[in-house]
Amino acid sequence: MTRDPATRLRNAGAEIASRVGRSPSFDEVIEGAPQAPKRAPLVTAGLAFAALAIGAILFAGLTGSFRGEGPRNRTAPKPLRATVIKGATVLPSGSGYAGNVPVTITNDSTTVSYEVTMMSCAAINADGRVLFWFRTRVLAFVRPGATQRVVPNVPFSSDQPVRPSGFRCHVFAAHPRDPHPPIRSPQPPNPDNPIAPGFLPTDTGFWDTSHGLVAGRIDCQTCADKTSGAIAITSDGGRSWHVVLTTANPAHVTVARGTSSAWVWAGGERLRSADFGATWQRLHIGGVIPESFINASDGWGFFPVPGSGGYGSGAAVIARTTDGGRTWTGAGSPCPSRWFPGPGQPSISFVTAADGLVDCHWEVGAGMFSNDAVYVTRDGGTSWTLLAMHIVPSGPHLGQPPAGADMSMSPGGSIALSGGRAGTYRTSDGGAVWTYLPRISSPDVFDVEGFSWASPTTVFATRIGGLPPAILRSTDAGLTWHVVLLLPGD
């Protein structure tokens, strides 16, 4: 017998591998269906369950009216109907085809909202024969009423060489959700948190002076709901809100003023809405973080590239989209390579396809202090000119790390606001000279960010630190501020 430990280890591994029985199916591992049963009677039961499940899916697909439910509870039908919109994207990919299938989901219930988490579709050929089935996770919130529809793009890929000529889809998994009725916030503020327990607003996005979104994180130690991000919508200038989307991670939002489009970044999720935040579609764009859009198509973001030295050692690539965030291409970057890879950083703000500012932050010393610099472009980001170094020249917050720093230009482009842990600053000459705003940057209020310009004079922001969290509004282009809504926290 060999004494070589490596050989004996390999022999042992081979013997164990040969004893591993039947591999579990995809459904058993991913869908939370029964785990691979290890004993004979259970194997029979498991196969019977799988056969029943497959039978149910096939039946549903052929009839086209499967009333969606997850694998654990198919007995309770839900009033959700899926219809495939003509015009699915089907492109050659490898040895087969890939693309997106746009689907509308109708909710027949007038009282219950649903969160759709999985769609199942059949790709069919010209004769109507099923070529293959695919199932994909989606995230879609369907509000009550037959007119409430969502249109997720259901992605698929197949190695089959036959090009699908159509699709039939149904909702595979959906869960009833609290419809989050609008909650009015009286003045003085309601002691109950009006958006969600522990909601901390970090970002706003306004299409006009009445309609907007607020995004943030839920930090609720005592709640059963472990969700940690939320997006709420307002139609009365921020006085009342209701939650339209909850996310697994703290959420950040960008809107295109004057359109109905919005983009959300929440951890690994990237979502887009084209209907004032009522419904959301997932964007499969990897790590790109959307930052600024001038219309429903043209936008800028950045792509954090982690460094080998941990936090603060990474770089970022400015990214550009011309199709509403579906695809991105890299663009030049004026910033030093040691950017903070973190929420809202670096801050990019464009007012036309040519004119934009970027506020870079980087670390100085042993990670305790930071510098920043503002660069301007007049050619859409091809070339950048340094406008201002150290816009935090003095004040009580000099040297603070700019965690969560945020910068945003007014629609005219001459006024901009920049905020974060280092205080709030304003420029009225396009970014060369920045003035400290003591009224919202007092030592009690050390973090105002999430700026969103609803008009050339009206701008919204969120107060994160110091005094209780709040949504703020200025009607004089950022000189003076008022609390629109106080959020008492958890």
């Binding site: 280890l9 890939a98 764009i285 792509f303």
Partner: protein, 177 residues
């Protein structure tokens, strides 16, 4: 497969590794048994290893759904499953052990040689155990092991050297007695 849309090409090279249903099915029919064997070698129980690998696979799928790509899915799943088998899934694994005691699994009678190797591997420190299984059983390059375990290649080489020496000693003693 999804096409790569990252503006930074260097991060795109493994876009194909973001786990979709087809690639998970490929893993289940291909590498599954090898990875279960690897985790079994490192943690000692095949049933626990299967649970841990399936949980790791579920987590890999969720990452894929979030648009994240994995550098080396098989290695990632193996390392995560090893961690899970050690630190997580405790309750589930306790249940599994209780079931095993009630109804011992048929076919778990491994050869004496394999049992000896497993016992010797289990005596190694955790890092050495992981390194030697990943390198000699899953044939992972030293550099990849370092990346997955978050240590330098030098540290992996050191672990491998020590593990090999300890195993040699333990297995020689076993044979000698």
């Amino acid at each position: 497969m999804q096409t790569c849309r990252h503006p930074c090409a260097s991060l795109c090279r493994n876009e194909g590794a973001s786990l979709d249903e087809a690639s998970i099915q490929r893993f289940l029919t291909g590498d599954y048994a090898r990875v279960v064997a690897a985790v079994t070698l490192a943690c000692g129980s095949q049933a626990s290893a299967e649970d841990a690998v399936q949980e790791a696979l579920r987590r890999a799928w969720e990452r894929g759904q979030r648009g994240e790509a994995l550098d080396s899915p098989t290695a990632w799943i193996a390392v995560v499953a090893m961690n899970l088998a050690k630190s997580g899934l405790r309750r589930k694994l306790a249940e599994r052990r209780a079931l095993d005691r009630l109804a011992p699994r048929a076919g778990s009678d491994l050869s004496e040689d394999t049992m000896e190797v497993m016992a010797a591997v289990r005596k190694l420190p955790r890092r050495e155990r992981e390194a030697i299984v990943l390198h000699y059983w899953l044939d992972m390059p030293i550099e990849d092991i370092g990346k997955q375990l978050g240590v330098t290649s030098g540290a992996v080489k050191n672990s491998l050297f020590r593990a090999r020496r300890s195993l040699e000693k333990a297995l020689t003693e076993e044979v000698g007695t």
